[in-house]
C-alpha cells in the first residue's frame, strides 16, 4: 500500500478544499447577490474548466506554469523553485480545476437564503460582508458541506490534471489516484483493488462525518 501517496492526496484535498472555501465564499456571494446582468457570464466562466478534458486542461496549465510563461517565471523568481512538478503547482491546478465544484453549490445555497433576513441585517447596520458572514454562511451549511464534499472527493480522485502538472514524483506529486492508475496499467489488479478500497473507505468516513455534522439540527420532511 502506497501510504505516502495516500497522505499526499489527503493533504492536497484538504488544502484545495480549504483554499476553495476561502476563495469560493466571496466569489459565490458576489455572484449570488450582484444585480449586474453580466455576472451570468462570470458564473459560466467559473464552470468552464470542467468542459476541457483534465489532461488537456493540465497541459495548458503546464504551459502556463512553465518557465516560459510570465506566471511561472514570476513564481520561480519569487520562491526559487518552479511551480510545475511541485506540490504547490499541483495545489494551484487542483484549485483551478475544482473551482466550479465549490462555487456552484455555494452560490445556489446563498441565493436561497431568505431575502428578508438580508434586509433585516442591513437595517441592523451590517455591511454586505458582515451579512454574508453572519447570516448567509450559517444558513448555507448544506451548501458549504456540498461544496466541501465535492471539492474534497474530486481532488482525491483527480488524475489527468495532476498527472500533467505533477510529473508523478513520489512524495511530492504522486497522488494515490496516480498510484492506483499505475497499478492498473501494470496489471497489478490486486494492488489497485486494495488501494482503491482503502481510499473508498477513508473517503466514506470523511463524507459520512461531514454530512452527519451538517445534518445536525437540519431540516426534515414534515410527516405528511
Amino acid at each position: 500500500m502506497d501510504w505516502q501517496a495516500i497522505a499526499l492526496s489527503v493533504r492536497l484535498a484538504l488544502a484545495t478544499t480549504a483554499i476553495l472555501l476561502v476563495v469560493g465564499v466571496p466569489l459565490a456571494a458576489w455572484l449570488a447577490f450582484s444585480r449586474r446582468r453580466w455576472t451570468v457570464v462570470v458564473e459560466a466562466i467559473v464552470a468552464l474548466p470542467l468542459v476541457l478534458p483534465p489532461t488537456v486542461l493540465g497541459f495548458y496549465l503546464l504551459v502556463a506554469l512553465g518557465d516560459r510563461s510570465p506566471v511561472g517565471r514570476w513564481w520561480s523568481e519569487l520562491t526559487g523553485s518552479p511551480l510545475a512538478f511541485t506540490f504547490n503547482g499541483l495545489l494551484l491546478a487542483s484549485v483551478v480545476y475544482s473551482l466550479p465544484f465549490a462555487v456552484q453549490p455555494l452560490m445556489t445555497s446563498f441565493a436561497g437564503v431568505d431575502r428578508r433576513l438580508l434586509e433585516a441585517s442591513a437595517v441592523l447596520g451590517r455591511t454586505t460582508a458582515g451579512t454574508v458572514l453572519r447570516v448567509v454562511l450559517p444558513l448555507s451549511r448544506p451548501g458549504v458541506a456540498t461544496a466541501a464534499v465535492l471539492t474534497f472527493a474530486h481532488t482525491i480522485g483527480e488524475f489527468g490534471v495532476v498527472l500533467m502538472v505533477g510529473g508523478n514524483i513520489p512524495g511530492e506529486t504522486r497522488t494515490v489516484a496516480i498510484a492506483i492508475y499505475d497499478s492498473v496499467q501494470a496489471f497489478e489488479y490486486a494492488a489497485a483493488g486494495r488501494t482503491s478500497l482503502v481510499l473508498l473507505l477513508f473517503s466514506l468516513v470523511v463524507l459520512v462525518s461531514t454530512y452527519a455534522l451538517q445534518r445536525k439540527g437540519g431540516p426534515a420532511w414534515p410527516r405528511p
Binding site: 510529473g167 508523478n168 499505475d182 501494470a186
Partner: protein, 246 residues
C-alpha cells in the same frame, strides 16, 4: 495474401499512441492499395487496449507498443499465437528544447550535468519506453545521478510534452516523436546507442473475434510489406526482429 472479397469494409485498429505519426501515412497508402477498405484507428495506451480487448472491445487489429501485451492476450486465450506479428522496433533519443540548458548532443551522460534540472522519462513501471530509458540510463552509468531529476510521464507523448513545454530540461523519448514536425521544429535530439537498452520490439495481433478478418490480415501484411516498412522507417522506427513472424 487473402481473397479480395474478404478485404471490403472497415478495419478497426487499436493503435499504441507512439505510432500515431506513422499511422496517418500508413492508413493513406493502405487505403489506396485496397479500395473499398477503410481504416478506423483508435489511439491509446497499449495497456488500456489490452484491458479493453479482454472485455470485448470490437477491434480487428491491435498494434501494441511492445511485444508483451500481445503475448498476454495469447496467454489469456484471447488471441492465437499465429496471429501475432512483429512490425517495427522503437528507437530511443534524448530530446531537449532549443532554449534548454541541456545539450542533447552529449547523449545520456550529459544529463548528469548540474545545469540540467529536470529530466522526463516515461513511467518505467508500465511504459515500455520508460523501462528502456531506465535501462539506458543505467548502461550510461548516470541512473543514480539523475534519479532526483526525474519526472515521470504516463506515456511517451506526455513525457515529451514535459520537455516541450519547458518544464523539463530534457526528455528521453521515442525517435518517432522527435521526428514529428512540432518537436523537430522546437528542439534537438540525439539517438541513444541501440545496444544500451533492450530492444523495443513492437508487435501487433489480428484479433480472433474480428468482424473483418480479411481486412485485418491485409493491414497486418501491409505493415510488414516493403511499402509499410519504408513508411515506418521514415518515422523513426527500426525494422522488426527477423524471424518474429509466426
Amino acid at each position: 495474401g487473402s481473397e479480395a472479397a474478404g478485404s471490403e469494409g472497415e478495419v478497426r485498429v487499436a493503435v499504441a499512441s507512439n505510432l500515431k505519426f506513422a499511422m496517418a501515412d500508413i492508413v493513406a497508402e493502405f487505403e489506396d492499395a485496397h479500395p473499398g477498405t477503410t481504416v478506423a484507428a483508435s489511439y491509446g495506451s497499449s495497456g488500456a487496449f489490452v484491458q479493453q480487448i479482454s472485455n470485448g472491445a470490437p477491434f480487428d487489429v491491435f498494434l501494441s507498443a511492445d511485444t508483451g501485451y500481445p503475448e498476454d492476450l495469447v496467454q489469456d486465450g484471447l488471441a492465437d499465437t499465429g496471429d501475432v506479428f512483429g512490425y517495427a522496433a522503437g528507437r530511443l533519443v534524448v530530446w531537449a528544447a532549443a532554449d534548454s540548458p541541456a545539450d542533447p548532443s552529449g547523449g545520456l551522460p550529459a544529463l548528469a550535468d548540474d545545469a540540467v534540472g529536470t529530466v522526463a522519462i516515461a513511467n518505467p513501471e508500465h511504459a515500455p519506453y520508460g523501462t528502456a530509458a531506465q535501462a539506458a540510463l543505467e548502461s550510461a552509468g548516470v541512473a543514480d545521478d539523475i534519479e532526483d531529476k526525474l519526472v515521470l510521464g504516463e506515456n511517451i507523448a506526455q513525457t515529451a510534452e514535459f520537455a516541450q513545454s519547458g518544464n523539463a530540461d530534457a526528455a528521453v523519448v521515442a525517435l518517432s516523436l522527435a521526428l514529428s514536425p512540432s518537436m523537430s521544429a522546437s528542439g534537438e535530439h540525439s539517438e541513444v546507442p541501440p545496444g544500451s537498452y533492450p530492444r523495443l520490439d513492437q508487435s501487433g495481433v489480428v484479433l480472433p473475434d474480428s468482424a473483418n478478418p480479411g481486412g485485418a490480415r491485409d493491414l497486418a501484411g501491409f505493415l510488414r510489406s516493403e511499402d509499410g516498412q519504408a513508411i515506418l522507417e521514415e518515422h523513426g522506427f527500426a525494422p522488426p526482429e527477423p524471424g518474429e513472424e509466426g
